[in-house]
Symmetry: C2
Subunit: 661 residues, 2 copies
Amino acid sequence: MDIAGLLTSAGINIAICVVLLSLYSILRKQPSNASVYFTRKLVPEPVKWSDPFCLERFVPSASWIMRAWQATDEEILAAGGVDAVVFMRIVVFSIRVFIIAAMICILLVLPVNYYGQDMQHKQIHAESLEVFTIGNVKEGSKWFWTHCLALYVISCSACVLLYFEYESITKMRLAHITGSPPSPSHFTVLVRGIPWSQDHSYSESVEKFFSTYYPASYVSHQMVYRAGTVDKLMKDAEKMYRVLKTVEPQCREISMPCCLCGGTTHSFKVLNNEAESVKSKISDDGLQPAQREKERPAAFVFFRTRYAAVVAAQVLQSSNPMLWVTQLAPEPRDVYWSNLSIPYKQIWLRKIATLLGAIVFMFVFLVPVTFVQGLTQLDQLSHTFPFLKGILRQQLSVFSSVRDIPTQLAKAVPTQATFFTTYVLSSGWASLSFEVIQLFALLRNVFRKFILRIKEESSNCALSFPYHTEIPRLLLFGLLGFTCSVMAPLILPFLLVYFFLAFLVYRNQILHVYVSKYESGGQFWPIVHNTTIFSLVLTQIIALGVFGIKRSPVASGFTIPLIFFTLLFNEYCRQRFSPVFKRSPAQVLIEMDRQDEQCGRVEEIYDQLRSAYCQFPLIARDLSTSQDLSTAGNTWQNKDQGSSQDPESLKPGNQLVKLNE
Amino acid sequence: MDIAGLLTSAGINIAICVVLLSLYSILRKQPSNASVYFTRKLVPEPVKWSDPFCLERFVPSASWIMRAWQATDEEILAAGGVDAVVFMRIVVFSIRVFIIAAMICILLVLPVNYYGQDMQHKQIHAESLEVFTIGNVKEGSKWFWTHCLALYVISCSACVLLYFEYESITKMRLAHITGSPPSPSHFTVLVRGIPWSQDHSYSESVEKFFSTYYPASYVSHQMVYRAGTVDKLMKDAEKMYRVLKTVEPQCREISMPCCLCGGTTHSFKVLNNEAESVKSKISDDGLQPAQREKERPAAFVFFRTRYAAVVAAQVLQSSNPMLWVTQLAPEPRDVYWSNLSIPYKQIWLRKIATLLGAIVFMFVFLVPVTFVQGLTQLDQLSHTFPFLKGILRQQLSVFSSVRDIPTQLAKAVPTQATFFTTYVLSSGWASLSFEVIQLFALLRNVFRKFILRIKEESSNCALSFPYHTEIPRLLLFGLLGFTCSVMAPLILPFLLVYFFLAFLVYRNQILHVYVSKYESGGQFWPIVHNTTIFSLVLTQIIALGVFGIKRSPVASGFTIPLIFFTLLFNEYCRQRFSPVFKRSPAQVLIEMDRQDEQCGRVEEIYDQLRSAYCQFPLIARDLSTSQDLSTAGNTWQNKDQGSSQDPESLKPGNQLVKLNE
């Protein structure tokens, strides 16, 4: 590809982006799209164009860009939590480091590459992109010190920036831990592998174990039950009830043909608040004696303080490490109850199976990736099909030889730089445009409003931020930026545009679209840090390989200590910061516990604990609303005496939806 | 090498062993050697040949073999502790697994190897050893299932035996933990990285931190001090005093020329029990105000219970993970005080430097190993020196190519089998003979008794068992056995002889020679287990490579699941057993703490704690003997009030040996 080709490609992509962003700025002004673009509704955006023929409504504007630019970190924190702020720090870090990289590489490295060989240069627009890569510098050139210097500057600035980011994010995380209100998960430990005993039920065993070994801090516990068919039916019924409620909210008793049961007519009777029938179920069903068999060897154990819970979660409990396995409990809404029924002895096997599956999937995924990359090498396309075999061999050979990896990468990266540049241009920019325009939500909204003709706004369409796709994407672009920076600096301006756009788009989305359903307190930052260090070291190894191929022993010699010091820096950060992201400091926890005690919040917290982890939330909700259910009420209240007769004793009766055939 | 050569080599080695063992059986009967061969003196061995001309004293006998054979596990446990029993389990495991391997490999695999090619066999004694290896089986042979079957039998029996060993050793370890008397190290946590404060001394900071966050369990603490030049002089003087005391035990004041100080005459005055001078030192020296500067940011903190200490050691204390770093304290006699003065911030760097040093040393060590192995390939010796380069390349190429490792190993192992067989014969057998004869101790004894003419037995010559050399040796022979078993089964009989001899020799040494100075409770078993699994997997990978070279896809296909299941078995053991070897179970610790409380041992334990960790033990000993030193005595007794005015306040005066110029 030559410069003209690259500029054409850039032009096309810029045009697409401008069109999409303009379209977005128009679409967001339409009141009918408020459920797509202002899902959060937290930030009061004036949707004032209610007049359908107002011209301003159909004119693109940059107001959203201004809004996103001007938003402070406090607003982001309020809107998206610590996770959102940390996510934006990745973008800011990338912008900073690649501005430095672009400055040194374009001012220093690019001219050296361009004039690297004694050759007749064409006109600039007809110049091949290869001329701008390190591949154009002749062997044994004395100018490789520029590349080495650029590498040093990039590595050092990346490390310094990373250090300050890590430090400030650690502080933010600690402030988040200290400032967060008491959550049931802080006081709760998930216990698995409760040993089977002939004499006691699992519940009695838990009671006995924790009141023996943690008498001062143990409060009570909540068993996990096997979800039977009745429970499954209940869940299906509940789901169905919700669907029907949306369609006809007033209807309390619906008769409709059930499509699942082969044509016979069923009627669902919603027994909401009809606690009497629940009561009768308890006495009629005769399930209570069989309850013990329904208990699974897992339980949530509640402790008096956060510190006690953390200690119980970290200490090895039993001399058989597969019994009484403890860990801090997940948040109540994150519990996947049917997984808790799995015996602990199987879990390690399942984990290994998952790992193997992931590895196999990764290798399978190599095939399409290789195919796409093969397409960029046009001369190979002439071989039609046999080329696939060849490419798969050219690509997989990287894995075959340890010593040759730097050389292999050094050969591959400069030649692949064109591909990566166009990848940033197309996939990167376009993904942001599509992110902001929320195509799927938009189409769903159109479908609801103009085809189904539902007028009311659906309340549960708010999405949470897709960290699981967006963080890897940012890190991938970071990796491309680092590895290509010194080898083929032309990628950097396009990458910077991507990161600037990402800065605006993600801030806009955090402020207006995504709802934060979960808060990890920036726990993913160590992954980001490690990946960035990996990218840096990979860049340095590739540079080492290139300097080797180009016979520049001095540059190679200076690169080796750089690799060493980068790894040393990473190790320091691992020692200095990362433990806080894995475990909560005792000092902080104890202070928080004491504050709770001073504020007199302790009783309130215990009350929350009792109702937080409930496998069958429907009955719990119903029981708490029905005041006349004396038996159940008593059992529920008895819990603070450390008795094990917990609400699970009510469990067999929790059939709120009766299936009348 | 041919069979005749091997048998000759075996004959020579057997002769050497018989001579050495006979010599041992004579030497041990000499009363003058009791300090060499009966250092333990725990087992009452009748040394009845006091008549210098008794013939029986000079006739070799096998009585020691009978004694070693008949000793029970209880005797070994009593003599050498859990470590010794676990060590003997390695030998027993090796004997068992290699008996099975020898049976299947010699009965099934060896004939297949021998008749593996259509060839005219020579007379058996002239047959090359190569004929007995898998290299002799022709490509694509249908008989490779025998090798595959042998591999399965060996792997399965090794895994089953390993499982039962791991289980019984875990039980033994737990019994050891439960049964061991209270030790100060159980109750003590070593704290490093105490933060510097303008207002408090380090000691006050420790006091404040632990009485704030561990008010219920914190007892007191003991600071670490910078060892000054005076302390170093003191230690030298003490050493010198001991040497002089051995020569002339009655002498209380000695005048002798000091060879270190260039000819001037010095006199040492031993001020044992002269507490007055110590007292005067305290008041005269004026060091007490400077004491705060001598405190280092490290301390031993004592807790009320074992469980509290374990919790404090495991929990992350501070929001800066490099401050208040806790770990369980080493045993008092294992403390290397000058290391504790190192700031914690430097430790990770020093650890990395040590690791790098170890890696460099390993690579440097490759050179002589390669040279020795090169010597076995006689045809290469003709090239004199350039061959070294070639060999280093032939050896290091193993590291260069990941995919080719199985093939490389598959080529190398059968050809190296002769070398390994002779290695077992010579180095293995001989090392055991020299182990039993204790050449160094014997020579020293002869030197003392017949040249220095010292009559009394030296009391501190008892050695502790050299686990650090003997465990790797056993594991190396295990590795050789596994990797060669299927490839070149002729090694197995020689290896079995080695392990049988090791069984007798090590039992004898544990019973009579070595003193157990340290007890880890079999903590090294997971290393043994992992190394054995590594050996098994390596064997399977090599077999995979050989089956690949020999074009036996069926055998290769069957080997792959075997590798997978071996790794799975290892993972299971890691989950099931290994945590007990890293952390003590809370259940066990709490039970022990309660027992202490019931037995009323608690006060006694606290008293022990106070004196256990003392950086300057001389003064502690002296102070406890001198009753009139009231100031010091008071400070010492005040400790149980949790006060930090600990014996360290006496420290500057602890100069027991005065150096008079």
